[in-house]
Amino acid sequence: MISIKNLHARIEEKEIIKGLSLEIEAGKVHAIMGPNGAGKSTLASIIAGREEYEVTDGEILMNGKNLLDLEPEERAAEGVFMAFQYPLEIPGVPMNTFMRTALNAQRKLRGEDELDSLAYLKKIKPLAKTLGVSDDMLKRALNEGCSGGEKKRNEVLQMAMLEPTFAVLDETDSGLDIDALRVVADGVNALRNEQRSFLVITHYQRLLDYIKPDVVHVLADGRIVETGGPELALRLEEEGYAKFVGEAA
């Protein structure tokens, strides 16, 4: 269970998150929608541990621990995962090397045995296949020369490999064509279970047809301004954010 309480954060004197509270129970999928610049990616980055943002107040509790006290790699080992809105290219580091290093680093931090390369390949091959990530891409430098859609599939593949307990997906649907969207959504749905929680940030109701959320929030001007069921997403599609932007301002 994840509990974000009264979170305030800023960057360079500019307050972006302004008292945000949110509770996600184990096994649930929450969606966040909201206008551009509302602070959605900022929230995701803060959860993952990006140091650029200064948290001035509040806490993010996961299984009783305050994530804000942990380094990004420690959060990852605790089970936090963020799929980046703009995944990075890492020249010179093949996806396979990166992924195996990450997987084993987490296992080590948790006191588990490391996977040898055979066990690693056995794990990634079928997952890569279902997500449509080619062998060639696994051998190439991470995300280098990949299309926007390929990078997003790569993010979901990393998530499937790392098996987080709390996954934040930041606009993982943008840049995907219809078929890829289905593949990626299937990948996410396959990971849904009683223990795992998801926070899905999106601009499009369409994604939520595939990944059915339990709860939908509207984030505007650094706060959660509305919370409802899946029907809220449909309403937003029709009405837009004008009402909330007006309220927040």
Binding site: P72, E73, A76, M82, I90, V93, A102, A105
Partner: protein, 402 residues
């Protein structure tokens, strides 16, 4: 600098040179006997030039970043013995003294130091090496021969030694050699000076893969001159991986004599403290249709300094030349610095010469990306640094030599 103070500086440095190298010069002069007349003559000339010019001083354009005086002054230099060479089949390796009757060997020993046509004070370290130019090895690979096991050349210097090695390499027509130099040290307290000259002749369609693992003592000074001439379709791949040395000047003079030849000069450095790594090159594209690339990747910690002075010269008529240069530095401390100076001198019309130089800090976003996947900070940083340094190996035929 005013003219008067420039002259004063020159006089000062010449006096310093005389003092630092007096014992070395005296010893070299006594050793010279039984040599062919041309070689003896050359040593005499080199002696005159070296005492006349002295060690290069910072006022010289190509030496302004790398001043060896303060380092050399602190040493108390005595000559050191020859370096070791290992290979399963040593029939093609011989001491220079045993090969001195061969004309091509004499020609190399008597060659004018490159850099330019005229004799210049830029070349003083080469003259200094000339004083003992019969100390070293000849590596002679006959035509149509592939030496598949890498030739290993290992050198470990002791405290307060001066090592002037001369290496002459000839790779015959259609032949291939892989040579791996290991420059090692016993402890980082050992102060020594290595002044090497390596001359390489690649005949038509010959290939040399030449790697140098430079892990000298952190108190060592090292000047390396490597001169390469390439025949038609010949290929030279030079890779230096720098880890050690207090001060290293790695200087290449590459001359294309036959069409269709290729040369790569690659250098990486992962250095800190007050280390100073200087790569200075000149690619002389004298004939048509040759290609060259120069890739430099430096990771600089603490107060380390990197220097890259890369020159591409394209003679009139040397059309279809492709000469590229790329220098990137990662500065991991506010006191680290990098000086990159690509230089182009082009007299031909149809030429492709790309060059780029960048210098910056570690990419925080990439670091965060790796950490967010669970890779601890130090490991993430090491992974990114290693990937950055690996770029110098791009496209080199390194695998067969192992």
């Amino acid at each position: 600098m005013s003219n008067a103070s420039a002259i004063k500086e020159t006089v000062y440095y010449k006096a310093e040179t005389a003092q630092i190298f007096a014992p070395i010069i005296a010893l070299a002069q006594n050793a010279a006997n039984d040599l062919p007349a041309a070689v003896a003559e050359k040593q005499k000339l080199a002696h005159n030039l070296f005492t006349q010019y002295g060690v290069p001083y910072p006022k010289l354009e190509r030496w302004k970043y790398s001043n060896f005086y303060p380092v050399l002054k602190k040493m108390d230099l005595a000559p050191a013995a020859l370096t070791d060479i290992w290979h399963g089949d040593l029939s093609f390796v011989k001491p220079i003294k045993d090969m001195i009757s061969e004309q091509w060997v004499q020609d190399l020993l008597c060659a004018t130091a490159p850099q330019s046509d005229e004799i210049k004070d830029d070349n003083a370290f080469w003259y200094l090496n000339d004083l003992q130019n019969v100390q070293g090895w000849v590596i002679d690979i006959p035509a149509n021969t592939s030496v598949n096991q890498a030739l290993l050349l290992k050198t470990v210097n002791k405290d307060n030694t001066y090592n002037a090695e001369r290496i002459l390499i000839r790779v015959g027509r259609n032949s291939r050699l892989v040579m791996d130099e290991q420059h090692q040290h016993e402890t980082n307290d050992h102060a020594y000076f290595k002044n090497w000259v390596t001359q390489i002749v690649l005949e038509d369609n010959a290939e040399l893969v030449h790697t140098r693992n430079q892990d000298d003592s952190l108190k060592a000074a090292y000047v390396q001159n490597t001169a390469v001439t390439l025949g038609r379709d010949a290929r030279y791949y030079g890779l230096t991986l720098n880890k050690g040395a207090h001060m290293f000047r790695n200087q290449y003079h590459i001359v294309f004599e036959g069409e269709g030849a290729h040369a790569s000069v690659r250098s990486s450095a992962d250095v800190g403290a007050d280390q100073h790594i200087d790569l200075t090159t000149c690619m002389y594209h004298n004939v048509k249709s040759c290609t060259s690339d120069q890739i430099v990747r430096n990771v600089l910690h603490d107060k380390a300094t990197g220097v890259f002075q890369g020159k591409v010269y394209v003679a009139k008529g040397a059309d279809y030349t492709d000469g590229s240069q790329s220098s990137k530095a990662l500065l991991l401390s506010p006191l680290a610095s990098m000086h990159a100076k690509p230089e182009l001198e082009i007299y031909a019309d149809e030429v492709k010469c790309a060059h780029g130089a960048t210098c910056g800090a570690m990419d925080e976003k990439s670091l965060f990306y790796a950490r967010s996947r669970g890779i601890p900070y130090e490991d993430a940083r090491a992974m990114l640094v290693a990937a950055f340094l690996e770029e110098v190996k791009d496209g080199l035929p390194l695998t067969t030599g192992e």
